[in-house]
Symmetry: C2
């Protein structure tokens, strides 16, 4: 594969190098005939802009960094979450001609985000799967203090300058519990995920809001904690089964835990939704495949990824200083009604935006 450069194209087209650049970047006015000459020459020589040289001249890498937590042999994301978010980000960067640089961080140590920018490896980055543990908050704090363009996905930090794209989990949790109340539940438990994620406490806030609106007091003894894995859902089954006499519904903070919980409860002869109505969270692929299919809160991961990437690219592309404020977007979730909540009309696949 031979690499052609601009000079050769200019020579063949009989124009200057500057003209070649203008044509290929679609900048400034140009005669149609010149444009055609250049495009023709480029095609003949198999010429395409050299991305590295271009980045160098512009002083930008043209890459958006996506940073994921990674510990070998530990899998933090579901396929659904991962694939949707990355897909959304990928779509946005492709449209803008940007690259998607994948980076792994060790969540237990302070990650040097700033170096990524200083070495010009990325122009901006999206942080996935961040939690509120000390090493992570410290990493993010440094990013924010340098006022670099970045966006944390679905996790909030109490530090100014931290941009984020998130789903409205307070509303999501509220909608889930409201739905259970609408099904006639009076004693609604809650299996939440790890407390180091802000979205866990958000869901809890929604749970509490819905109950208090219904005049039901919060009963801490029926609030359980898992870690978003299916195994933790299975483990929670012991406690839930023990408390079954004072439960008629349960809100579970993600689909995977719900699936584990349901499996174990069934082993013990407790039917969902017959004995216990359940609403889960995420609307992952598995939600519609399990028995029973899960009533769950759909989270628009694809759109969230796309939005985060788009917003970042706007900020690093535009010269307007006003558009450089931290991203702060909150997307709405959607209730997908299926069988697990015992809804009459579940077969219809009813859904409403929460």
């Amino acid at each position: 594969m031979t690499l052609t450069n601009r000079k050769e194209v200019a020579k063949l087209a009989g124009v200057s190098e500057a003209t070649v650049s203008r044509v290929l970047n679609g900048i400034g006015p140009m005669k149609e005939s010149t444009k055609l000459k250049v495009l023709d020459a480029a095609k003949q020589l198999n010429y395409e802009l050299n991305a590295v040289a271009s980045s160098f001249a512009r002083g930008r890498s043209g890459n958006l960094g996506v940073v994921l937590p990674h510990v070998p042999k530990v899998h933090l994301f579901s396929t659904y979450y991962f694939s949707e978010l990355l897909g959304g980000i990928g779509e946005a960067v492709r449209q803008k001609g940007y690259g998607l640089l994948l980076l792994f961080r060790d969540p237990t140590t302070v990650f040097d985000y700033v170096s990524l920018y200083r070495t010009q490896r990325v122009d901006a980055c999206i942080v996935l799967g961040a939690s509120g543990i000390a090493s992570e908050t410290e990493s993010i704090r440094r990013l924010a203090e340098e006022a670099l363009p970045f966006c944390v996905m679905d996790q909030s930090f109490n530090h100014r300058g931290v941009g984020s794209v998130a789903a409205d989990h307070v509303r999501g949790g509220y909608t889930a519990v409201k739905h259970l109340l609408d099904q006639g539940c009076k004693h609604i438990g809650f299996l939440n995920g790890s407390p180091q994620y802000s979205n866990s406490s958000d869901r809890r806030a929604g749970y509490e809001k819905a109950l208090s609106e219904a005049g039901i007091a919060i009963d801490e003894s029926i609030v359980y904690e898992g870690n978003y894995s299916r195994t933790s859902g299975k483990r929670a089954a012991d406690a839930v089964y023990r408390d079954l006499h004072r439960l008629d519904g349960i809100f579970v903070a993600n689909d995977r835990m719900a699936i584990g919980l349901i499996q174990e409860l069934r082993e013990r002869g407790c039917d969902v939704p017959g004995r216990l109505k359940l609403v889960a969270y995420d609307d992952s692929d598995a939600a519609s495949l399990t028995e029973p299919p899960l009533t769950t809160i759909k989270v628009p991961f694809f759109d969230m990824g796309k939005l985060a990437a788009e917003q970042l690219l706007i900020r690093i592309t535009s010269k307007e200083q006003g558009e450089k404020s931290p991203i702060n977007e909150k997307l709405q979730t959607e209730l997908k009604v299926r069988k697990s909540s015992g809804h009459l009309n579940a077969a219809g696949g009813e859904s409403r935006t929460s």
Copy 2:
């Protein structure tokens, strides 16, 4: 965040710019004192090498492309596969100071890999999830004809110059079926995955080899086809249940299908391994979590990703022409014995390399 350049470091350290470069790249002999001066100055000024300028001067992007199939709202990979492979690749590139550029392709159209190299966006790439359908083989063929450095993961193409890293699925399939034979099975069915993947036919070859060695004829009527999804495993349950009278064991080409199949068989009152012994494939996270835990063939995805990346980086880094031949590596799988195959000693977690 201020960007410092080499000139400033040179001035502060009282040396030439070339010396700064040499120190930072660890090239050539240098006086310890000079080295310290330079490192000190760099630290004071918060200087780090500019990756873009560096790439430009070297004429290489410094990126390894990883190309995945992607159609929005369709999830092709399990978390396990995806996360392990990417993790392995990520580890290798990080060690070499390379970047990991993630790219999505539409499997139904011919993907222009060559342009990635021509525009110098990547120096090499790894193709994940390739299948044998026409558009994919054509894309890969073009890559091979230009003799560009690339590696296809776990899929073989009948075209010279196509490098690949794969697991030995013939042996894997053989080992799986051999284990069932060792458990006393005489009538072993096979639920295979989509035929457009070469690894499907490889597993089948292993299945046939083990049976023929045992003097058992292949019975096409107990070879079933799914598409590696859990749903397809569930669907296969109908046929398997129907044929149950002439089955005492089954080999399933991945864990996800096995899980779906087992779920459905249980619904019909068919116990695994009581009534039907089963060996699955992949040793994904789920394998040890389901009931029963799966006897399965462990595939070293992490190592495969790492190896592919390392081999590619060697090829694009070394000047030796001899080291530019297509990658051709085959890694061994490992039998993990758990409960689903009815092995006596399953609790011990016995495993042997296949």
